[in-house]
């Protein structure tokens, strides 16, 4: 079977310090996969390795079966790997619709077209409208992102990533800093994602993880401790020791 995203024996060392130690991980097509681990487990480094912010010291990253380890961040995006950011990285001076339009136009490779009038492109408008409706953002279409609430901005962050029509969506702590009701909204939204998108979510909010993920990988000290269903992870004594015990006591 082919995996949407496959990581083989990935290593990363900063000087003598090994931060990622021989990590292997597979995200099946259409999977809802979560990556958890205590602070300092190396989650951020792993995200950076997958998205291309950092170059691995060893190992392979495969997207849809082909290696992407040497590609730039932008090229990985083009191959169908989209991500959200821990800290919002949006276009604050532009409207929500424009934010989404930017991603769609970029994805279509139409961003350098000098003659197409964006407001006279019904197909584009329809796509944006549909996209925003699905993400419950239709009401905010004409508002500047900088005027939205933090929770709404987090959702726009997801909307931007999804507008790139990714095969794999990497969500980097999407619930960070969200109020409880916003987390519910986010969860609804994530559950409604189409099966064509495989999701890898890195999250601290255990409640969200266990309600959303089908598969969970636990990372400790730069190593994979365990990969399994939520049930298996919940029951595992080692996980309780290193992680759940400490946090959920």
């Amino acid at each position: 079977m082919s995996f949407a995203l496959e990581i083989r024996n990935l290593k990363k060392a900063f000087g003598g310090l090994e931060v990622t130690r021989d990590v292997s991980l597979t995200v099946a097509a259409g999977a809802r996969h979560a990556l958890i681990g205590p602070n300092g487990a190396g989650k951020s480094t792993l995200v950076n390795l997958i998205t291309g912010v950092l170059k691995p010291s060893g190992g392979e990253i495969l997207l849809g079966g082909s290696g992407i380890g040497n590609l730039s961040q932008a090229e990985r995006v083009k191959r169908g790997l989209a991500r959200t950011f821990q800290i919002n990285s949006l276009f604050p001076t532009m409207t929500v619709a424009e934010n989404v339009a930017l991603a769609m136009v970029a994805h279509d490779g139409a961003d350098a077209r000098v003659l197409d009038n964006i407001s006279r492109d019904p197909a584009l408008a329809a796509r944006i409208g549909e996209h925003l409706l699905r993400l419950n953002l239709a009401d905010t279409a004409d508002r500047l992102v900088s005027n939205l609430s933090y929770g709404q901005q987090r959702i726009v962050e997801v909307a931007l990533a999804l507008a790139l029509r990714p095969n794999v969506l990497l969500l980097d702590e999407p619930a960070a800093g969200l109020a409880a009701k916003d987390v519910e909204m986010l969860l609804d939204l994530l559950k409604g994602l189409p099966d064509t998108v495989s999701v890898l979510i890195i999250e601290h909010d255990m409640d969200l993880v266990f309600r959303f993920a089908q598969t969970i990988t636990v990372l400790v000290d730069g190593r994979v401790l365990l990969t399994g269903t939520p049930e298996e992870v919940r029951k595992d004594q080692r996980v309780r020791d290193v992680y759940l015990g400490r946090r959920h006591g």
Binding site: Q73, A74, E75, V77, K78, R83, S89, L90, F91, P92, T93, M94, T95, V96, A97, E98, A101, L102, A103, V105, A106, H107, A110, D111, A112, R113, V114, L115, D116, N117, I118, S119, P122, A123, A125, A126, R127, I128, G129, E130, L132, L133, A138, A141, D142, L160, L164
Partner: protein, 337 residues
Amino acid sequence: MRKPENTIGTSVPEMRSALRTHRFGWFEIVMLVVFVAVYYLLPGYLPLATQVAIMIIFAISLDLALGYGGIETLGHAVFYGIGGYAAGLYALHVWQEPISGLLVAAIAAGIFGIVSGVVVLRAKGLTLVMLTLACATMVHEFANSMRAVTGGDDGLSGYRIDPVFGLFRFDLFGRTAYIYSVCILVVVFLIARVVANSNFGLTARGIRSNAQRMQLLGVPVLNRLVLLYAISGALAGIAGALSAQVTKLVGLNTLAFTLSGNVLIVLILGGIGRLYGAVIGSIVFVVLSDRAAAIDPFNWLFILGGLIVLTVWLAPDGIAGRFSALTQQLRGRERKS
């Protein structure tokens, strides 16, 4: 392909206002009326009005680079000057036909935009400001030292310009020059408008808003900025060429820091990223300096300096920004009541 008339199609009109583009409105109509009215009612002011039109073109070109792409430049005169010299040299050595002269100038300035853009636009912020300044100063000094070609400090002169379309001679009263400049202004405005409203214009605004994120959307930011810089440069070149054709002389002042500074003042005075800010700013700036200089030439720098300081103080988004903020407030009030 989805069709706009499916269920989701109901949101199509909504998107039109959410994707902000330049729309023709009363402003353009008023401007056209003003330009026509000036011709008939103020024939003695046509040379001044021609300078206004040229400045508008120049400011619009800067607005594309700065207002849309966020390219912070303190050396935009380099394109104006290159356009001017290109048009002058073309008329002197090749052909005196004016419209082809404008095209040659636009191409020359555009090519310089690509070449210098590839080099300069890697930088950001203050470094970019300084690089554009250094680049313009360098070309200024170069033109100064290439006396044999450019005439150095004495300016490039001695060329003729043929009648426009072989019909309209550049007359003493500046009528042809005025109509010609205003027509070119309309064309340039339309070009700038197409660019601003296009996918590419959206991309440029995205880059201005968050260049890093654009890169991560898979957009080659540097390439796009270079393209924008080249388009902007070409339009600025047209402004310079117009000035060269109307004045029949190109001086080193077309490349000077003062001009770069002034066009920036014009644009920020009017308001950036709106196209029509360039129009308002140019009218205010050129007319005011002309009047102030006529009334009190010895002290008009006081007026100019004071005006700039006050504008930034009271209307940091420029006159156009102030205005749209006001109309928005009014609209908001209407909605509430």
